[in-house]
Symmetry: C2
Subunit: 183 residues, 2 copies
């Protein structure tokens, strides 16, 4: 099956903003029926996130999210540096944010977070066999580390302290891992 | 525990763009250590998505995603209309996109898709006891409906035909539902 089904061809791309992290453009497109429309598109460098398991608990970090005007509990995550391999980024972010090094690490899924308006992709890794390394958050990054059980994670979801797509995906993946032994 | 831990207070908000669907602003913020920084923030009206189960299969729609320059298989979803109740929106989008009406429908989770740069929230519903209604996609909306098993959904994930956060979350939720009878 075609990966371009119902393709919208670009008539014009209008750059709107080039920021530190994201950029915004508006594309004028031709639809399959010949009509034209516009698409507002956010470009993002991509990110990694890590389901890191230690002694039957998942490592999470609490941090303030300005876009939401509140703090959130999330799995360790961060943007890709230019040209960086996602696996290297996952190892780097895990150690920078939590101080743990992964003895084994592998990709679970890569997913687009908001395909309606953004190209952001998150590469979600499973990290196990953790050993203590060195905490080294980015300058001006403020976060608090915690290790929580599956039951606590599910409770945090009920309390809205965990409420982002990558962390909820990770909690489900972990639950399936516990139920089936496979992930 | 505070929901404002490590709060970043706003010094200035600079509107950059007001589009059809999203808007972009850049906030200058004061960090907990007194330093200042900027935050690029996309505002979005919010969306609904529906895990709709019929005869042991999940309804999905394939559509072109301009931000990704490819088509994707996703669960039925759409933006909230201004002032619209998310439950009403979920019923509306399910029927518009697939032609099915939900005999029972309930919220599974609400989650932020990209808390690092956007306020978009997706309300994910479970719809069961489906009956045939009327397909009525938005003007200029092109999509193809399919009903797939859990095994097919997992295969689509391997093939990158399913690769967005809300659909992967829905597939995991469905797997847990099958494994435990609860969701």
């Amino acid at each position: 099956m075609s990966h371009k089904k119902f393709e919208e061809t670009t008539i014009e791309t209008k750059p709107i903003y080039q920021g530190k992290i994201i950029s915004l453009q508006v594309d004028t497109v031709r639809l399959p029926n010949g009509n034209t429309s516009t698409r507002e598109i956010v470009k993002h460098p991509g990110a990694v996130a890590v389901l890191a398991l230690v002694d039957g608990k998942m490592l999470v970090v609490e941090q303030f999210r300005k876009a939401l005007e509140k703090s959130q509990v999330e799995i360790p995550a961060g943007k890709l540096d230019p040209g960086e391999d996602p696996l290297d980024a996952a190892r780097r972010e895990l150690e920078e944010e939590t101080g743990y090094r992964a003895g084994s690490i592998r990709l679970l899924h890569s997913f687009y977070t908001s395909p309606g308006f953004a190209d952001e992709i998150v590469h979600l890794y499973l990290a196990e066999d953790l050993t203590v390394g060195e905490v080294n958050p980015d300058e001006d990054e403020f976060l608090e580390i915690e290790a929580i059980t599956l039951e606590q994670a599910q409770q945090y979801m009920k309390e809205w302290r965990i409420s982002d797509a990558k962390t909820i995906t990770a909690v489900y993946a972990w639950q399936v891992y516990q139920l089936t032994g496979r992930i």
